[in-house]
Amino acid sequence: MPVYNRTVAAITLRAALGRKRALLFAVPPLILIGVSALLRLSHPADPAWPARILGDFGFSVVLPLTALIIGTSVLGAEIEDGTIVQLLATPVPRRTIILTKFVIATAATMVFAAVPELVAGLIATGGATRLAVGLFVGALAGAVIYNALFVCLSVATTRALALGLFYVLLWEGVLANFVGGARILSAGHYALALANAVARDPALKPGVNLTTSVVMGAIVTVLALAVAVRKLASFSLRGDAA
């Protein structure tokens, strides 16, 4: 069964990135790179400062928020506009539609969050250190898991962005730091564990071990996409006049 449809991809790219929205995703990574450069020039007192800016800001905030905006707009905007009907009224398999949009969202997140994370890492640590590369790898994994979650959320509910915000800010931002159990269900921690496997930096504190992270990350991704496909296959239009 085909997994990728070029026409769906082309439409998605133009819809999601061809508007003012694209500016919104360019700003956080630019700030990340800019601040990293500034800090490098100003030699802050804390020797672990690269891990702070790259980890607490870049990895834990820029990455999930960028994935949230991109992940909810590849499908959410079309559903809200009603243009999804045009796509659904064709024999293209629903799985293909979801997977194509997921791939586009993940690629865009990698471009707008993972690559800047690498660039900022190179600047902050002065080269291709383990920390910079590790966080880059982790960001790539994070892009995959987050977008699977947010694409699924977009089909499942109309308030995907608000719920996604609750998840990123509350669940991952607050709870996962205080409640051990919540960490097991945190995509950010899976990605961080992967990053730390390469970086081995004590400043990064993933709360979940590597094996669990890889397994859970894979399960969450596959499950989220499978649910998204099922939901899209059952997409219903309510009668307008009713």
């Binding site: 045009q86 024999p91 239009l237 309510r238 009668g239 307008d240």
Partner: protein, 303 residues
């Protein structure tokens, strides 16, 4: 096989029954789905088009169910009421993209043909967001026709069209129907349905109130009196003779002629010929006064 079959199909949203136990077969040609707002026409069309699951009953298009069956869209073209075209694409790009999604072997040629059919060749390279409402509707019809479907479903297709565009669209749909395609369109505007379709399906409050040729439907309603206008050589004498017949409920002399209200269409038709001959009155004109769909509709809705 290009027919749509419904067997006891119902759909409810919570406590509201939008479509109530509808059984019908829609065959080739143009079928009009008529009914007031809220009658369930959109719901029915969405179910036929695979965008809503029947809560009960069986619904098949060309033999297979349309729900959760993306392959069915090779045979169906659907135009929903809500505008669903991508505003940021040009008209031609939109139709071409749809052709590709439909798997047409030569998308560019299919798109050109479809755009030509709806007479949108001039503005086809402009963005859809710059189109007027009627133009958007037409480009969506082009996209729905690009893969040459046997079945075409249109929900209130004439919304927002000016009279000239409407005539053009009606002509197009008529031609497509004459080619043997199954065309179903919904409307609450009587003239549209009357002019375009031979077969109508009348829905009222979710139920199928009447099906078939509208004249035939009218005739079936013998519970209401039929009204005829007769012009003859001597209206007054004819009127006096007619009022004596049991099939006649009332006569009235009007400037246009003799208006006769008959309770039994069949008996009246038989009577009037004989009466006129016996009385020696020449009949000039006999017209039913309320055959139009308007009266059918009004009677169905108010009864």
């Amino acid at each position: 096989m290009t027919s749509v079959e419904l067997d006891s199909v119902s759909h409810w949203y919570g406590n509201v029954v939008a479509v109530n136990d509808i059984t019908m077969t829609i065959g080739p040609g143009v079928t009009g789905l008529l009914g007031p707002n809220g009658a369930g026409k959109s719901t029915l069309l969405h179910m036929i088009g695979g965008f809503l699951e029947p809560s009960r009953g069986r619904l098949t298009v060309g033999g297979s169910p349309s729900w959760r069956n993306p392959d069915i869209y090779r045979q169906i073209g659907i135009i929903t009421e809500r505008d669903s075209a991508y505003g940021f694409l040009a008209g031609a790009e939109f139709v071409r993209a749809t052709a590709r999604l439909q798997g047409c072997p030569d998308p560019a040629a299919a798109a050109r043909r479809a755009i030509g059919l709806v007479d949108m060749v001039g503005p086809m390279n402009r963005r859809i967001s710059t189109y007027s409402k009627g133009m958007r509707q037409r480009i969506r019809v082009a996209a729905a026709l690009v893969h040459d479907p046997e079945i075409l479903l249109l929900d209130e297709p004439f919304n927002g069209m000016d009279p000239r565009q409407r005539l053009h669209m009606m002509d197009l749909l008529g031609r497509l129907g004459a080619q043997g395609r199954t065309i179903v369109f919904s409307s609450h505007i009587l003239e549209e349905v009357e002019q375009l379709s031979g077969t109508i399906q009348v829905m009222v409050a979710g139920r199928l109130a009447a099906s078939g040729d509208f004249r035939a439907i009218r005739r079936l309603m013998t519970s209401r009196p039929h009204v005829f206008v007769v012009r003859s050589g001597d209206d007054r004498r004819l009127g006096a003779a007619l009022i004596g017949r049991p099939a006649v409920n009332g006569v009235e002399l009007t400037p246009k002629g003799l208006q006769v209200r008959a309770s039994d269409y069949g008996a009246f038709s038989a009577d009037i010929a004989g009466l006129a001959r016996d009385e020696g009155i020449r009949l000039r004109e006999l017209l039913p006064a309320d055959e139009s769909l308007e009266s059918v509709f009004a009677y169905l809705v108010t009864s």
